[in-house]
Amino acid sequence: MVIATPGDADVLLPPVAHNQTASHVIERLFPKLADLTLALNTVDDSGFAPVLAERWERRDSLTIAFTLEARARWQDGVPITADDVVFSLDVYRDTLAASPYAPSLEPVAEITAENARTAVVRFRRVYPEQLYDVAYHLYVMPKHLLDSVPRARLASSTFARAPVGAGPWRFVRWTPGAEIVVEADTTWFRGRPNLDRLVWRVLPDVSTAVTALLGGEADALEVVLQRDDLERVAGAPALRLVPYASPLMAGILFNVRRPPWNDRALRRAVAMAVDRETIVRNLFGPYGEVPIGSTSRMQWIAGAPARQLPFDTLAARAALDALGWRDANGDGVRERGGRPLRLALLVPTTSRARQQAAQLVQDQLRRVGVELRIQPLEFGVFDRRTAAGDFEAMFFSWTLDPSPVYLAHWWRSGAPDNRGGYASPAFDSLFAEAAAATTRTEALPRWQRVLEQLNDDAPGVFIYSPRNHAAVARRLDGVTIRPDSWLAMVASWRLAADARP
């Protein structure tokens, strides 16, 4: 199967890889202890299936002991032991390796190898998603091949370009800028994948990827986002669209440290002037939706009936007037105390959807007398400036974690990814309550209040959450997609009976 991918991988080593393509390949090659099932239930242990660990037991509220599968081997033949698990956590944690995933493993106090087949994980505190954190965020790597590599050099090691894993797939080759090939490991201890090989074909952008699919040069594409591309795929006889809930949510984030955007009422007025429905229809046609708040379709809390700010230009104008922002000089932009109501919005040049949406927002805000200045930036610069808080507003697009607990990274006071500086004791306490709930039924109303708090405070405008559609060739059967990671179930995909040679 040829997978069209817009953009090459960076490195094929779990703790240091950053981009999508790399993570998709890595997920095929390296084993986790256990993995989420299709239900994406992160809260309790029933949502997990064994992978490297054949079973696990909770010894106390802070300890889980994993028993490793006896047949598990690295693809060079060396058996996988608990030492590898210990080693892997150490790599993730090493500041020299500087893994971006280290914060997700922060709740893990330590892992010890009780014997070759038993790895014992101790957590720092009691919370419902302990298993999720250690199983979902930790890939196990071969200690015997990586131990000798200096940690700061891991990313540039030869291993990171030609990894030896223990997943259902085996690395074949990586031709940078062109393709990455893996093949089915027929000896894998949980049974071989149906397909023989997977090829990631690097293409310059989604549109070209779609064209490659239409031309039969590729079989699958993770997301067809925009309306025109979707319509092209929908009209192609050899392809079909496989819908799945998207982990993505995008919108505008205010830097609330910068006046006048520290003014909650001003932010609310601006949020009310944004016609999110029109933007979503323009971008995605019928294939996207307006999120209920800071969540995406994929998260199980997305169905909560959260209260939102209405789209109401009149109310927005009235609110702005009331705040003293008026257009006295008739230039179409409101001002207060001689200062025009301007908002500089950083948008990465790499995202066509965000560029387009930003221009629509610009047009909509102009109608209520707010001038939006779009500043397109290369992604690296965009990321650096927003991380440093050097911005007034940013057009973000977040790939959310299956667990809503990770919303904390963005909104909790002083959290590492809280780029806009939003700080609300009310939110923090509501969040703590929600995260402590041990069942979904108990948690849902609490999460709804979390989302409503954010909607009310308007630290951002939550504009769109696409309805993801993978484009897949009709000759493929059994295509199941787990929303958080579209290729998670690829081992069970197969060629349709009539497509077999």
């Binding site: 025109d228 779009i374 397109p376 610069v381």
Partner: protein
Amino acid sequence: MTPGAAAWRRFRRHRPAVLGAGLAALVTVATLAAPVLAPHGPTAILDPIALQLRPPSPAHPLGTDALSRDVYSRVLHGARVSLTVGVAAAALATIVAGAVGLAAGLLGPRTDAALMRSVDVLLALPRLLVVMTAVALWESLPLAALVGLLGATGWFALSRLVRSRVRELAAADFVTAAVALGADRLRLARHLLPHVGATLVVGATLDVGNIILLEAGLSFLGLGVAPPTPTWGGMILEGRSLMFNAPWVALGPGVALLLTVLAFNLVGDGLRDALDPRHRGAGLA
């Protein structure tokens, strides 16, 4: 018949050049009269849902883009950036080229050697890459800085032509006479300027086309003027990802770009043939 009139006659007879001049005039008029000629504003979002990506029709002769803006109106307005940058940067480059060429030709062999060696080296730099690096590293560059950058990297070849023309003239009798009469170098430069004028005018005209292409290339790489200001290169960039679905988005600005550059190149060729009789025959038939 004065030399000027003779040149004008030669230019008028040069049919492609007249065509080019007509085209250039048309583009200039379009630039100035864009607000009158364009049925819509360049950034006017007409109806983001119903009028998105409409193919060309009587209402929208060049179709609409993903934001339902009228491509025709945007192309008209896009001429402004292209033309402003092209003409201003070419003018700047020409002034520098003239100054450096005169200096090299008149200030003695040492200055000459130093300047021309430097020009050799500068000529070896890929212009697009240098400008690209500067633009990308400075994150957001005002239009004037872009003009400065394109002008500052555009004078190398022309300065060399000017210099050799100056050297040729310096050997001529009237210059020798002027030197014998004790004319200082500044005066001499003033004497010579009209004579290198032809070289400068031709060089400037041809460089306008080059610079317009360069600016479009930068915009195409996402390194140009920020949206929503329409630029042809930026419009082609927007149209690029849509080229399979809505080719008209990239087609309109591309043709406009082509015609504009073509116009300046035609005029430049015509001027060269008209002003520089030695060059006749080597140009375009």
